[in-house]
């Protein structure tokens, strides 16, 4: 695996700088998060929710925000027409690594914002295992980013990019989401964090499997 760290980090920095300059994704994503949490709050209308339902809502908001943001890195290159330029600049694996890094950063920020907003707005959403909770959110975010990065590269080459993205992502993400929800429930309502070990193992192995496969398959997606 000709994974060069330098090109990847250069691409990552370029994407961060480009994002900070144009703010296409950031602004839209923030608004998306605010809107979807508002919808949740409207529908709750002051009632106290069961923790299970709150956790479900949290993961729904995390999933759909990821769906509106994760495809951006590749779709933007495709729309700008810079895909070929990138192909001439670096090897496919370093392109994938750079894009993955960017998506990881994006989703960590995104999830942090979502969770903080949830904690602020949801009454009686007490977490019994905060350490485990944040670990699960972090791992869940990494898992979502790792699976959606290669799917974003796939849909960037197709028509109907926006609608296709969640359709392709959901079945692949389902094992991760189920393990993530289960571990989050343990973190919120459980008495020991050991109960979440199998779920954490699953999250980690999912991430490793998906990233490794993506590295192997990315050449085929990337080259026309």
């Amino acid at each position: 695996m000709a994974l060069a760290v330098k090109p990847a980090s250069a691409l990552f920095q370029k994407d961060v700088r480009s994002e900070l300059r144009t703010r296409y994704t950031l602004n839209a994503l923030l608004m998306f998060v605010v809107i979807s949490i508002s919808v949740v709050l409207f529908s709750v209308a002051g009632e106290t929710l069961q923790p299970e339902i709150t956790i479900g809502m949290l993961w729904i908001v995390m999933f759909f925000s990821a769906m509106s943001g994760m495809s951006r890195t590749f779709v933007a290159e495709e729309e700008k027409g810079t895909t070929m330029t990138l192909q001439l600049l670096a090897s496919p694996s370093s392109i994938y690594a750079g894009k993955l890094l960017f998506n990881l950063l994006l989703i960590v920020c995104l999830n942090a914002v979502i969770v903080v907003l949830f904690l602020l707005t949801m009454e009686k959403f007490a977490i019994s295992q905060p350490g485990l909770f944040w670990l699960v959110i972090l791992l869940g975010g990494f898992g979502i980013a790792s699976a959606t990065t290669i799917i974003a590269a796939i849909i960037a080459k197709a028509r109907t990019k926006g609608t296709l993205f969640p359709v392709l992502s959901f079945p692949i993400l389902l094992p991760l989401i189920m393990a993530g929800i289960s571990a989050t429930k343990t973190a919120v309502m459980g008495t020991t964090w050991e109960a979440a070990i199998p779920d954490l193992q699953l999250l980690v192995s999912y991430i490793v499997v998906v990233i490794t496969t993506s590295f192997l398959l990315f050449d085929y997606v990337w080259k026309d």
């Binding site: 779920d199 999912y206 490793v208 496969t213």
Partner: protein, 138 residues
């Protein structure tokens, strides 16, 4: 180039194994009573009906109450909001969906599992239905 796929393949298989193994201990949907208590989540507990403690249906409250023993041998009182489930008497195991709270399992649904043995002769009687153990109890 080829070694890339071999190494990648080994990593994928290895971690698929780890992920699969972690499912052994996982409690994605089904759990034991003690795990239900630990996690505080709404879970599905698989167990058997403790026949000698009987079962009763309260038509006024529309609740069906019985005792169940989970796989670890822990016994809990189960209160089901609803009527007696189908095939309850002959079931080999039951699955109760609900929450565990202070020694009582509040079930929203109880599903019964009947012997799925596709073998010729029912050699083993379902638990509690063996004529010999029945006589011993009497």
């Amino acid at each position: 180039m080829k070694s890339k796929y071999i190494i990648g393949g080994i990593i994928v298989v290895l971690f698929l194994g780890i992920g699969g193994y972690s499912f052994v201990n996982s409690s994605v949907e089904y759990a034991s009573l003690s795990k239900a208590e630990e996690s505080g989540k709404k879970v599905q507990v698989t167990g058997t009906w403790v026949k000698n403690k009987g079962s009763q249906y309260d038509p006024k409250a529309n609740t069906f109450i019985f005792h169940m023993k989970d796989e670890d041998g822990k016994i809990a009182r189960v209160v089901l909001e609803g009527a007696k489930p189908n095939n309850f008497d002959i079931s080999t195991s039951v699955v109760a969906k609900g929450k565990y709270d202070n020694g009582t399992f509040h079930a929203s649904e109880v599903l019964t599992k009947c012997p799925s043995k596709y073998e010729g002769k029912a050699e083993e009687h379902p638990e509690g239905l063996d004529p010999k153990s029945e006589q011993a109890e009497m």
